[in-house]
């Protein structure tokens, strides 16, 4: 009996693989986003010109549509899986104890850290991408002064705090998601998988730490 496409796409294996692969691609986006952010340390001109170069390229719409599709796909599939999983045990346990040898805080909180990240993304887009438009002119070209906007946004403690907490949630999410995606697509190696799990934590620390560093940096240096 061969599996039809509909059955395959609905299978527990492929659903998980789709969550994993979209998640890994989103990790790629995070890396480029973070790298771009660090231009903030170079100076206003480098940062603003980078932003302008990205947004003035007509391909940005294709890239944004792709990114949106990844987000929606990742989220939609994860919500579906989570709801199905809830219904797979209609009557819960009176007492359930973790063995301490399997699940981790990160693995068991994926839906929650995911919801925090969704709230963060909406807030972040609304504050920066669709936020106030300040203009600046370099070499006769008018562009958004995102440098100024960024420093302005990160001048208050609650704003910085929200970013840092969200990035903590992201680091927790990544520390499980990153290696888990490999397991879902079928990669397991007695030697490399433990190393992969460690590198997932390292990746989470670097990305989460990197994204948290910049708001703090802006807060501390912006006042002067």
């Amino acid at each position: 009996m061969s599996s039809t496409l509909a059955v395959t796409l609905k299978s527990s294996v492929v659903k998980k693989q789709l969550v994993g692969v979209t998640g890994l691609l989103l990790c790629g986006f995070l890396v480029t986003h973070l790298a771009g952010n660090f231009l903030l340390l170079v100076g206003p001109e480098a940062f603003n010109k980078y932003g302008h170069a990205l947004t003035s390229n007509p391909l940005i719409y294709v890239a944004e549509a792709g990114l949106l599709a990844l987000f929606l796909g990742h989220m939609g599939m994860a919500i579906r899986v989570t709801l199905q999983n809830k219904s797979a045990r209609p009557e819960g346990y009176y007492m359930k104890t973790r063995t301490g040898r399997g699940s981790t805080f990160a693995s068991s909180s994926m839906p929650y850290t995911g919801i925090i990240l969704l709230a963060f993304v909406i807030f972040h887009l609304q504050g920066i991408k669709f936020g106030e438009v300040y203009n600046v002119t370099y070499d006769g070209v008018v562009m958004r002064d995102l440098y100024r906007l960024t420093f302005e946004k990160f001048s208050t403690l609650p704003y910085v705090g929200f970013y840092v907490l969200s990035m903590f949630a992201m680091a927790v999410h990544l520390s499980h998601g990153f290696w888990s995606a490999f397991q879902s697509v079928g990669f397991f190696h007695t030697r490399y998988t433990p190393a992969l799990r460690k590198s997932a934590i390292a990746f989470a620390l670097v990305v989460g730490g990197g994204f948290s560093f910049l708001p703090i940096y802006c807060f501390l240096t912006g006042a002067n």
Partner: protein, 254 residues
């Protein structure tokens, strides 16, 4: 057994008349339990005391009582087969508990494992999965000489480890998603790692996974609680193998 050695325990046990009835946790006291007894023997003592009092004994599954058949189950203090690593309930000794302890005993919980009575659940969903592909249907000829088919030591070990699965369902019970992936992947792996089973490995994975999905088990989220509570220590590496065999089987139309 000296008197001072005997234990008194409080038990909270799930009682349910049949699969349609509403069950509840009921408190029991059991006395005269030896630390050398197994958990199931302790329940036998309780049932003796209940029968003497004219009450309905607690129903639970068991058979070999030596950790090989996979019939015993029980969620003990929130853990499948109790707190001991790599130990079935029938092999769990009462010396792991203290005199005066309160022990919570519940059945496996999953939509695909309905409670039949008290602590006994219907695990025939596992049989349905096996019937969907847990066999070899190609002609493998007569019994060959022992060394006529070369099999690497590594594969032989992996296959043997996967074949250690006794199908008890602790993986489903301990998984927060009630996923049966560890069980199915062990069955997929024990065949696909050996030459006779390898021939049908992809279609086997496809058929067994599709069957599993249709029975209402949840989706794996790679938390490895199954591996941690498996009395036979089946590794989640089997799940990765099943995942890749399923996908390659599905895209090649197996």
């Amino acid at each position: 057994m000296s008197e001072s050695n005997s234990m008194n325990l409080k038990l909270k046990i799930w009682r349910q008349l049949n699969s349609n009835a509403k069950g509840k946790m009921v408190d029991y006291q059991v006395s005269g339990v030896s630390p050398d007894m197994s958990f199931l023997e302790m329940l036998d003592v309780l049932n003796d005391q209940l029968i003497t009092k004219g009450e309905d004994p607690v129903v639970f599954d068991h058979d070999c009582r030596e950790g090989i058949c996979g019939m015993c189950s029980l969620m003990i203090n929130g853990q499948a087969h109790g707190p001991e690593e790599r130990t079935t309930t029938c092999q769990l000794h009462m010396r792991k508990f203290k005199d005066g302890d309160t022990i919570i005993v519940e059945p496996w919980r999953a939509k695909a494992f309905p409670v039949l009575k008290d602590l006994m659940v219907d695990r025939s969903a596992f049989d349905d999965i096996i019937q969907a592909g847990g066999f070899i249907s190609v002609n493998t000829g007569n019994a060959p000489d022992a060394n006529a088919i070369p099999i690497s030591k590594e594969n032989a070990d992996f296959a043997m480890d996967a074949a250690a699965c006794i199908g008890c369902g602790a993986c489903v019970a301990s998984c927060k998603n009630a996923s049966a992936m560890l069980f199915v992947s062990a069955k997929v792996s024990q065949f696909s790692l050996l030459p006779q089973g390898e021939v049908e490995s992809k279609e086997r994975a496809v058929n067994m996974v599709n069957k599993m999905d249709s029975l209402g088990f949840g989706n794996c989220t790679n938390e490895a609680e199954c591996e941690a509570s498996c009395p036979k220590g089946i590794s989640i590496s089997n799940i990765a193998r099943m995942n890749r065999e399923y996908t390659s089987g599905a895209v090649t139309g197996k």
